[in-house]
Symmetry: C2
Subunit: 581 residues, 2 copies
Amino acid sequence: MKASQFFISTLKEAPADAEVVSHKLMMRAGMIKRLGAGIYNYMPMGLRVIRKVERIIREEMERAGAVELLMPVVQPAELWQETGRFDKMGPELMRVKDRHDRDFIIQPTSEEVVTDIARQELRSYKQLPKNFYHIQTKFRDERRPRFGVMRGREFTMKDAYSFDRDPAGAAKSYEAMFAAYKRIFDRFGLTYRAVAADTGAIGGDLSHEFQVIAKTGEDAIIYCPTSDYAANIELAEALAPATPRAEPTQPLAKTLTPGKSTCADVAEFLGLPLTRSLKSLVLATDTLDDQGHPVGSTVWLLLLRGDHEMNEVKVGKVPGLKEGFRFATLAEIDEHFGCKPGYLGPLGLKKPVKIIADRTVAAMSDFCCGANEADYHLTGVNWGRDLPEPDLVADLRNVVEGDPSPDGKGVLAIERGIEVGHVFYLGTKYSKAMNATFLDETGKPALMEMGCYGIGVTRILGAAIEQNHDARGIIWPASIAPFQAVVCPIGMDRSDAVKEAAVRLYEELSAAGVDVLLDDRGERPGAMFADWELVGVPVRVVVSDRGLKEGLLEVQGRRDAEASKVALAEVGAFVKARLQA
Amino acid sequence: MKASQFFISTLKEAPADAEVVSHKLMMRAGMIKRLGAGIYNYMPMGLRVIRKVERIIREEMERAGAVELLMPVVQPAELWQETGRFDKMGPELMRVKDRHDRDFIIQPTSEEVVTDIARQELRSYKQLPKNFYHIQTKFRDERRPRFGVMRGREFTMKDAYSFDRDPAGAAKSYEAMFAAYKRIFDRFGLTYRAVAADTGAIGGDLSHEFQVIAKTGEDAIIYCPTSDYAANIELAEALAPATPRAEPTQPLAKTLTPGKSTCADVAEFLGLPLTRSLKSLVLATDTLDDQGHPVGSTVWLLLLRGDHEMNEVKVGKVPGLKEGFRFATLAEIDEHFGCKPGYLGPLGLKKPVKIIADRTVAAMSDFCCGANEADYHLTGVNWGRDLPEPDLVADLRNVVEGDPSPDGKGVLAIERGIEVGHVFYLGTKYSKAMNATFLDETGKPALMEMGCYGIGVTRILGAAIEQNHDARGIIWPASIAPFQAVVCPIGMDRSDAVKEAAVRLYEELSAAGVDVLLDDRGERPGAMFADWELVGVPVRVVVSDRGLKEGLLEVQGRRDAEASKVALAEVGAFVKARLQA
């Protein structure tokens, strides 16, 4: 491609509303252009990256046996009503009516449509397994679209859906997709982790997020540096302490702690380590009648160590809380504890509650907690001696750095990531709701076992930049760079030798399969170099009169501190080698 | 591709709602699957054709210097309000509100968005000309979606937009696109015509439709078999008769024509040729006040020869009717003619009207027309003698077969076509409405001159099939066929020799760049052949034990009456040659 036939538009400053570095750099490099909140034009420079991302995805999906089709953006509401998602999904689901006042949605994903295709097309076990995917425009009406393409409203997603005869088959399909995703992300040239994730109501362990590692990532990734263990924070298990609960050494005492209502304040005031204090959280569950109206409620006391944080997903798996829980009201708290929040604890309740202790809490002794009396805390509290053992002990908290790895092979570390892919075993959730059956080997109808597999195509761009940039701009991996190399002639309009050499080199590199751009805009060297460092082209070759005289051209990788001088005849091979490195 | 890794789903019968042959065959061949009225899933077999169509378009657009970007499907209403199209467009424009109750539309085209990009990005004459295009999902909420992908609601379109400094530049951009379109349609392998079309209010002659010729086409295409002339029926000019008006030979007479209110009935009743009768059409134009309310009206009598049809576009260009006209009301007709329709004519008016005669009418003599009295007609009517010459003579009618070609090089013929592309000079329509200016060489702001250029990507599939099919199914041109060739092994499961030879041939053809499918499904020969004839793969190679024993394989082109026997070693070259033919 020649610059004169392309469209290049760089900015010195990013617009004020660009918050994160990838958003700023994509705007400055002319890759995207804002059309509305969370809605972007993909400009020619950005679209080239998208196309390369899509091509890698297609090649690997096909290699894994998936078949591409194309499902519509605008989908009839009827299918979404079959699964209940038309009502259950909130305002994120963009709803629209046609001229006949019929309901439609703009697709956020395509489970309903693909399951509708499957129940019509896949009628025999002989047709299974099957994996359909498409790469198509999606829309989610985010409450607060931000970070450019990282949380946009309109975006491009690759979503694949597998259909199998049974859970064993579905697990095989899942593994094939997992392997394909590893190949895809390897080929993107990004540092990533496949992180075990929660499967929600379905259970099992077939859910992984593909996280691109970046300091600016929204997600906490838990991993063990000395083993393969990696999970997201929702799932990562906090083991019970290895050492058993110590014997009591202190007497139970009530202490005045005026105005100290947080664990940190109390511990500091009492001169105790935070690890000796207890955090009390009061939850409630409702009993519903046949019509779904609440007819009664149960109050639960959740106990965590003062420095730990509640993990909602884990709490949601506790027996009795699975069907849904909420934080208790002030009235409920007063009814059971006779006290306002800030001074709550498990001793001296006004009315009994269910007490659930985190595994760490169950192993604590001589601890401090609220006295259920305003401005008072108890110290030297001990299970068994001062109060009965908890009703239930469970993993309720987020792991923290230094926790033992669940696989027993070291201690956990935490890093930040950006979720760009997700593989997920769906079981029969959709096939059941939509009656997607096939005839099994005995001729009986059976529900299809499904999996779904997404990659946020446009989000890849943002994630790649969050991971790979410097003060001068983007640093693209060679496989998804808008151009792999750029030929920068200096004084092309003055020197025929430069012009000829630049065009010859451009043609040579093109012929060698390098996706190269010839910058024939006639910009000054400084502006030209700044543009290509901003855009993040992996390799730059400078063609100048001086270089030609010496027979040596300057070749510089985007991460190189300085240029290498390369003999004219060697430049092609040198560039190719640099791109493969 | 191996069939076992692909998805093939053919039907013996088309669904009842498929009206036209392309719709039926696409459904039967498993290319599309209906999701809702005018909304289709593109199944793997259909998507392959779309991808090939898109690739050809991209290559030729790039060759013509156009730059690809991607504009969103969901677009803010504000831009559409700037041009007035948000209000002016009817229910075809799909409107949608987001969670904040802001208005958006689902794009039917992208003039507004691309002009918004241009007014921000193209600030200097040095940046012009520029041509941006995208290939993206479109939605038009058609009142009556039908004919499968030919008039769907959701469809894929390539739309390009050129920006130039001045009309001369815009004409050059137009010509470049016209040439690119010819290359594109040539490469599709379709029989088509580039047909001059009306430019509406803009004027000039820079509008062409690309019509795929097919008996089932909705559009009438006018062309001259002995010259290059081709136009759509809206535009094709009907010349004035070459021979001057003949002298009167008959006296004016009033004749009873009871109940004969159409030209055909009257002519038959009176024993006159239809070409001697006059058709009277009464139109009205309204005078509006400053607020746009009608404050008065003018009535016009349009005269056509009895066998001719009014051309609304031509009538809309007549001075006085340009600003909009309507058919007159019965009250207005009675007021001016004192008679009900069916017996109207230009003689004996109750109140004067403007009389506009078609060119042919102005050259008629001794003609017959309504007497402005129920059940009576006049015969032997002659201009000048019986009534004054018409107020205006103009081309008001559709041409008919046999009319002289406007270029004077023969007579006109008519065929049917399907519009699949349109190139159009827009002038400053959008740049003016949206104030899209650039700084010209003198540093002054000037409006950009625009052109727009569309190709209905998904409609190409339907048009190609309407043109190319037989009783057995589709006949794809090689360049856009889902597969160029299919290898059909007979008894693959019984014969290792067949299996090995088929796989070897498949690999050989693949390596030679042929997009080949190996049908390894194990279907019986009859079913297998029927499938590929239905799908329309251009070349079929049969691998059988008998063929291998003879060393001769059967190769058959989709249009061939019978197979050719080709020596095993020659099959690859033979297939390639057939595909290029």
